[in-house]
């Protein structure tokens, strides 16, 4: 929770420093400790590694990506697809810009297959995200990984749409 406060605070700071509240900007409620950036809150500032000014559209895209905390995977796979890569890149950039932040990557699987294999597969998913973050410049000692295997499903139904939601690595600050 403390880390999440940091995130919100840093986003707010970035937002204020940017000083360019768009006409649709919704200011996150002060004191809302659990607030996380959402798609309707263009709270992203210029935290890109280059520090170069970004267009409004790019900022919005960054904020959208940063609001996403889940990287999804195909069955029995730990390969990160284009969509997942974009999410990891946004978080990595944010982490590089905010060196005080630490995070936990939680690997999860769908219910199919065996529990112990899924425990190992969940770890491999978390490690895949960790590896990409390290490549993108995040120091390894800021990242913790944990696997819940198939034990923490988000969705309880027995169909592909549910299974896809459950095959995930969660980025938790």
């Amino acid at each position: 929770m403390k880390n999440r406060k940091h995130l919100v605070a840093s986003l707010l700071v970035a937002f204020i420093l940017a000083g360019c509240a768009g006409d649709k900007a919704v200011k996150p409620a002060a004191g809302d400790k659990d607030a996380v950036p959402t798609q309707t809150t263009p709270a992203g500032g210029e935290f890109g590694p280059s520090g170069a000014a970004l267009s409004d559209r790019e900022k919005q895209k960054r904020a959208d990506l940063l609001s996403q905390r889940r990287v999804h995977f195909a069955f029995d796979s730990s390969a990160i697809d284009t969509e997942g890569r974009a999410i990891v890149e946004a978080h990595a950039a944010h982490l590089v810009a905010n060196p005080q932040l630490r995070l936990t990557l939680e690997g999860n699987c769908d219910e199919r297959g065996t529990r112990e294999y899924n425990l190992a597969l969940g770890e491999r998913r978390a490690q895949a995200v960790e590896r990409l973050m390290k490549v993108l410049g995040v120091a390894g000692n800021r990242i913790k990984t944990v696997s819940y295997g198939e034990e923490k499903p988000l969705c309880q139904e027995h169909n592909e749409s549910c299974w896809r939601q459950n095959r995930r690595a969660e980025i938790a600050y």
Partner: protein, 439 residues
């Protein structure tokens, strides 16, 4: 094939033992053999001032009916109710087409002490097959009933029974609006006498019986990550044996009870290790970038089978328990995992993806043929009964986790259900040798 009417055979154990109504597993037969041996079980004689704490003949009758190998004849058709050898008239039983007959009696010999005797007859030959007498405390009445079932089963089918055994399993209760509760429980093989070994707000998995049947190794997430514990079932004492960095999972006992094989990722990715329990020293068994997990020791202690995706998909491999290269055992399909040996070491049960579903299969190790035993789609955690004739596993029925068992030839099936919540991760105990009280 004659199919048993499941409803007819629902054994509402909850009604018989209401004290355990919330936790008890009810069992139904979903498929039996073509023709079970017709057997008559005469209610055991009892001359005591009060009702016996357990009705032995009822327990035997339920065991044998549940096995799917017997046609238990209805008591209302019996023309005589003998308790002693001298009262048996074989003609009475030939009329009913009974092939086997069981009689017996219970006598109180001291306060809380009982003498149970029974005889099993071949009705056609008109002769006794076997008979035993037991002197026991009241707490052993059910156990003796299961032992008698085991003897009858073995004498009639030619295969050892496994009624006097226990099963361990994990339940998950999730009352609306409340955090889930996980319990590791142990019950008799008929689902009766459930005892909670551990309860936790976080997941529990992979219970494994020690070879003597007095300890369980399991994985608990109570510290928000997987760690391996060993718990003594007699005194409740608990040891944390593995909390290395990364995952700590898939505990499996060596046949001598002195070591535990497990999957750890302390060196980066999931590998098989063995731990000597006396010294707690670890030995790494596999060296591979792939996932290596779910080890199981062969009954002779020589080999370890395990799951690995080193060839791209999870498959079963076998290596020497003293280390060395691994040999791939499964080649059918793109998912074969969680191998467990039958007690004779000649076959392994596993989870196999087959026509889109995850099913229970048995692989014969001599000719490497695999037989798929189930038709449901989310089957997992197969565990052999110590007689090697039944496999208990977890599956899903109408959105709920249930246990099921299937005979190793696929002919007999049972379903174990909880009234509420999910039940999963079954493990069948070894024979309980302490409970042999035959005379």
């Amino acid at each position: 094939m004659r199919r048993f009417d499941a409803k007819k055979f629902i054994l509402l154990l909850t009604l018989l033992w209401p004290t355990f109504a919330h936790a008890i597993l009810t069992i139904e037969i979903t498929r039996g053999v073509d023709v079970g041996t017709p057997i008559a079980i005469v209610p055991f004689g009892w001359e005591g001032p009060v009702q016996l704490p357990q009705n032995i003949s009822d327990v035997i009758e339920a065991d044998l009916a549940r096995s799917g190998r017997f046609a238990v004849l209805p008591r209302r058709d019996f023309v005589s109710l003998p308790h002693e050898d001298k009262d048996v008239v074989f003609k009475d039983w030939r009329i009913l087409k009974a092939e086997a007959l069981v009689i017996g009696s219970v006598r109180q010999v001291a306060p809380g002490k009982y003498q149970v005797q029974f005889r099993l007859y071949d009705v056609f030959k008109g002769s006794q097959i076997t008979g035993f007498r037991y002197t026991i405390g009241s707490e052993m009445l059910r156990s003796v009933a299961h032992q008698i079932s085991d003897i009858i089963y073995e004498k009639i089918t030619g295969e050892p029974g496994a009624f006097n055994t226990r099963i361990a399993y994990v339940t998950k209760e999730e009352p609306p609006g409340v955090k889930p509760i996980y319990k590791l429980q142990v019950a008799d093989s008929d689902g009766v006498n459930p005892q909670t070994v551990v309860r936790s707000p976080e997941p529990l998995l992979s219970p494994a019986w020690s070879p003597e049947g007095n300890r369980l190794a399991y994985v608990s997430f109570e510290d928000k990550r997987s760690k391996i514990y060993i718990q003594n079932l007699i005194d409740g004492r608990r040891d944390l044996v593995a909390e290395y960095t990364g995952i700590n999972g898939a505990p499996a006992w060596s046949p001598d009870g002195g070591s535990l094989a497990m999957a750890l990722s302390r060196d980066g990715n999931a590998e098989i290790y063995t731990m000597h329990l006396g010294s707690r020293s670890l030995r790494r068994m596999t060296y591979d970038q792939a996932i290596d997990t779910e080890p199981a020791w062969s009954p002779d202690g020589r080999d370890i089978v395990f799951t690995s995706d080193r060839a791209g998909t999870p498959q079963i491999y076998r290596m020497s328990a003293s280390g060395g290269p691994a040999e791939r055992l499964t080649f059918d399909g793109d998912y074969n995992a969680r191998a467990a040996y039958a007690a004779d070491g000649k076959s392994i049960s596993l989870v196999s993806r087959n026509q889109g579903g995850f099913r229970i299969a048995v692989l014969r190790l001599d000719n490497r043929t695999m037989q798929v035993l189930t038709e449901t789609v989310l089957d997992e955690s197969p565990s052999f009964a110590p007689n090697g004739r039944m496999i208990i596993y977890a599956t899903e029925v109408r959105g709920r986790g249930v246990l099921a068992s299937v005979s190793a030839d696929g002919r007999v099936r049972q379903l174990f259900k909880l009234e509420e919540g999910d039940v999963r991760e079954p493990a069948w105990s070894p024979y309980n040798r302490e409970l042999q009280y035959k005379e």
